[in-house]
């Protein structure tokens, strides 16, 4: 090939590259990429990168004012060897196990009741939903008064049925159940709305047919409603589990991890490690443990509820 032919070929190549670019610019793929760049970019910057950076930090000793120093698995050893952090893992599980099934079941019952036709149901739905739109801080302040051992409403009411006053948030045996109570109170409205939407999706004919076949209300609920609601139950259980794991506001406002570390959950321990002790590496390791625990619990929920569905 002589020089002239080579130059012509290159020009053709350039031209075809420009043409290709112009074609790409006018293609749907380019438009799709353009519109995906922002959400995908945000996902990478705000979610994926922090997770990997957190993973990196969990292998370091990092106190913010000095560069991170690699310490291998030391932070993870601390998490599993230290009695306080072990207790925080146990408390988190206990908190979730107590709050999620009970909270979800109560929300389902309330949703079922509010799915019926009766006078004032819109008002009841609104009232049940109100805690969801209340600020966590305001709710916590109100509950601090409700749980107050001397002037609290709760002690007043239990006093009416002859139960002696309790110290609630200060009692090592009652502090976590008290938090569970507040968590359920705060979540019931949100979960109820989701269940309500699911209940309204259940075809009326199916329930009608069961009724004609002689099934009573309880049988219709357990054999028709619950099986058809499984995808919704799965969604509620998974999201409620995650939010219970992340429940920081109530602990911060009401118990600060006490008494005797009985309400010291993983998220509180992360907070104390990072902001109390400025051990960001240790906090990162705790966060990774929390991530894995949420992941396992979510998988378990999927498996249990999907298998039953199958």
């Amino acid at each position: 090939m002589d020089v002239v032919t080579q130059t012509r070929a290159t020009k053709q190549q350039r031209k075809s590259l420009g043409q290709r670019l112009y074609k790409f610019y006018n293609s749907q793929t380019f438009v799709a990429i353009l519109f995906l760049i922002v959400p995908v970019g945000l996902l990478i910057i705000l979610k994926i990168y922090p997770i990997f950076y957190n993973l990196y930090l969990s292998f370091t000793r990092y106190e913010l004012f000095e560069p991170p120093k690699y310490v291998g698995l030391k932070n993870y050893r601390y998490v599993f060897e230290n009695s306080v952090t072990r207790q925080s893992i146990w408390n988190t599980l206990l908190f979730t196990i107590e709050a999620v099934p009970l909270g979800a079941a109560l929300a389902l019952i309330v949703a079922k009741l509010l799915d019926e036709n009766f006078y004032g149901k819109i008002m009841y739905r609104t009232l049940y939903y109100l805690p969801v739109i209340s600020s966590i801080v305001v709710s916590a302040m109100i509950f601090r008064w409700i749980f107050n051992p001397q002037q609290g409403l709760l002690n007043y009411f239990i006093g009416l049925i002859g139960i002696p006053p309790q110290t609630w948030l200060s009692d090592p045996n009652l502090a976590l159940p008290s938090l569970v109570m507040v968590t359920i109170w705060g979540s019931i409205g949100g979960n109820m709305i989701i269940f309500l939407a699911g209940l309204q999706d259940i075809p009326g004919e199916v329930l009608e047919a069961a009724k004609v076949d002689g099934a009573n209300a309880l049988q219709r609920f357990t054999h028709i409603t619950i099986p058809l609601l499984r995808p919704v139950i799965l969604f509620v259980v998974v999201t409620f589990t995650i939010s219970t794991f992340r429940n920081f506001g109530l602990i911060f406002m009401l118990t600060q991890g006490g008494p005797l570390n009985r309400t010291n959950t993983l998220v509180w321990e992360v907070y104390m490690s990072v902001f109390g002790n400025l051990r960001l590496g240790r906090g990162a390791a705790l966060s990774m443990v929390m991530l894995v625990m949420v992941f396992i619990l979510t998988l378990l929920s999927f498996r249990v509820l999907r298998e039953r569905q199958g």
């Binding site: 438009v31 004012f65 051992p149 110290t167």
Partner: protein
């Protein structure tokens, strides 16, 4: 004729443009930091972070103090931001990490060594030593020492949070005591005589130790006063060892433990305050340790209790002692105009301005020249009379980290789930591990 663009083209061009702007913005941002070199008197915008304030302080700051500063420094402006102690530590930590700190900010008792170690406090030594008119010597030596770390003055005290014994005169008189106790034996006698119970429930605590709503450091802070009265200390002088396994520490903890479980003169955790009304002011306790905030809260919320609740000098155990939490102002090392930030700090801690702040916040002031200030009540003076017996925190940069295991072990001992001696030994072990770890 120009062909109109369709919706897809419009969106595409908009998206390309937005991406371009974003990219340029991201690339430019690291080079945007500006450093100011200002001539004296030149205008500058300063930021001030307040955490230790009440509504009257806010009004005084915005209506009097800041306008005065602006008048004295023409063209300057000050933006005041407010926070609260509950979230202040993390707020400032993240501010420093992000490089967006206020120029001047308030800090708590444990902050000096921590700020110095992290390099977050601007060294004020040269400014303070060169400024005779502002008068550093007016601050007591103990307070000066509290803000001096490795020879550098890193902050200026604005408040002495001195805690001394408060008592209810009516309750003590009803129990036959004409004067408050002055030592541990008398204290125990008064506490026993003034405790009122209904079955297992306390109606009046002879002594109020602590309450749940005071946060996780509550027991530690309340115990610390007893520890110091027993002649003990938290850390060794060289800060290398925890001293809580020593005899005075055990003596103090055993005394409190017995108040709860043997003499039953205080509940654990104690009765809760009624909002901003402290337990003693509500009439639910005969005695408690507290600072001048008790006086402020009486004035604001329970003026009818003013003639019933009084402070007195700290008790004597092995020695007469109490603890002082010294709060201070800092200039951020990240301030772009540290010289001007010092001007603001200097102004805020000037005698006349500190008097306005202390009077509106009902504080016990750090300047000796303010001891006779008109706003100072008899009770303020009585609280300040405890100053000669006051001890401050050791200057370790990770005090919060060290306090946590202690607070946990104290809780175990005071709930009766662990023997006090064992609890202190365990606390000492854990603190020593943290100390060795650096």
């Amino acid at each position: 004729m120009k062909k109109p663009i369709n919706r897809r083209q419009f969106l595409k061009r908009t998206a390309v443009g937005a991406l371009g702007f974003t990219t340029v913005g991201i690339i430019r941002s690291p080079f945007q930091t500006q450093f100011y070199s200002l001539a004296q008197g030149e205008a500058v915008d300063l930021t001030l972070m307040m955490v230790d304030y009440s509504d009257p302080v806010k009004t005084a700051l915005e209506d009097v103090i800041i306008p005065m500063f602006v008048e004295e420094n023409p063209g300057s402006s000050v933006t005041v931001n407010y926070s609260d102690w509950a979230r202040y530590n993390e707020e400032m930590t993240t501010a420093f990490a992000a490089g967006v700190t206020p120029d001047v900010f308030q800090g708590g008792a444990v902050w000096s060594p921590q700020m110095a170690k992290r390099g977050w406090a601007y060294d004020l030594t040269e400014h303070i030593k060169a400024d005779t008119e502002w008068n550093w010597a007016d601050f007591p030596a103990g307070l000066q020492a509290d803000v001096t770390v490795n020879g550098e003055i890193v902050g200026v005290p604005y408040r002495q949070d001195l805690r001394t014994l408060w008592y209810r005169k009516d309750t003590l008189e009803a129990a036959g005591f004409s004067a408050p106790p002055s030592n541990w034996d008398e204290f125990l006698e008064v506490a026993k005589a003034t405790t009122v119970k209904n079955g297992d429930q306390f109606e009046v605590e002879g002594y109020h130790f602590s309450e749940t709503s005071a946060g996780w450091q509550r027991d530690w802070q309340a115990y610390l006063i007893w520890l110091e009265q027993a002649g003990g200390q938290f850390l060794s002088d060289d800060l290398s060892k925890c001293m809580l396994d020593q005899e005075p520490a055990l003596k103090a903890l055993q005394f409190i433990h017995d108040l709860i479980h043997v003499h039953k003169v205080t509940s654990y955790p104690g009765l809760e305050p009624q909002g901003d009304i402290p337990v003693i002011v509500a009439g639910d306790a005969a005695m408690q340790f507290g600072n001048a905030d008790i006086e402020r809260n009486i004035t604001l919320y329970a003026p009818n209790q003013a003639d019933l609740v009084f402070p007195t000098l700290p008790l004597t155990g092995t020695m007469q002692a109490t603890h002082s939490w010294v709060n201070k102002f800092f200039v951020s090392s990240q301030s772009k105009t540290p010289e001007r930030a010092w001007d603001l700090l200097r102004f805020l801690t000037r005698t006349d301005i500190l008097e306005i702040y202390s009077a509106t916040n009902n504080n016990t002031p750090p300047r000796q020249s303010l001891l006779e200030a008109p706003y100072m009540s008899e009770k303020h003076r009585e609280v300040l009379a405890a100053a000669p017996y006051a001890q401050t925190y050791p200057q370790h940069p990770n005090l919060i980290g060290l306090f946590r295991p202690v607070a946990e072990e104290l809780e175990r001992a005071l709930t009766g789930t662990k023997d006090p001696e064992k609890a202190l030994q365990d606390a000492t072990k854990q603190v020593n591990i943290i100390l060795e770890d650096g």
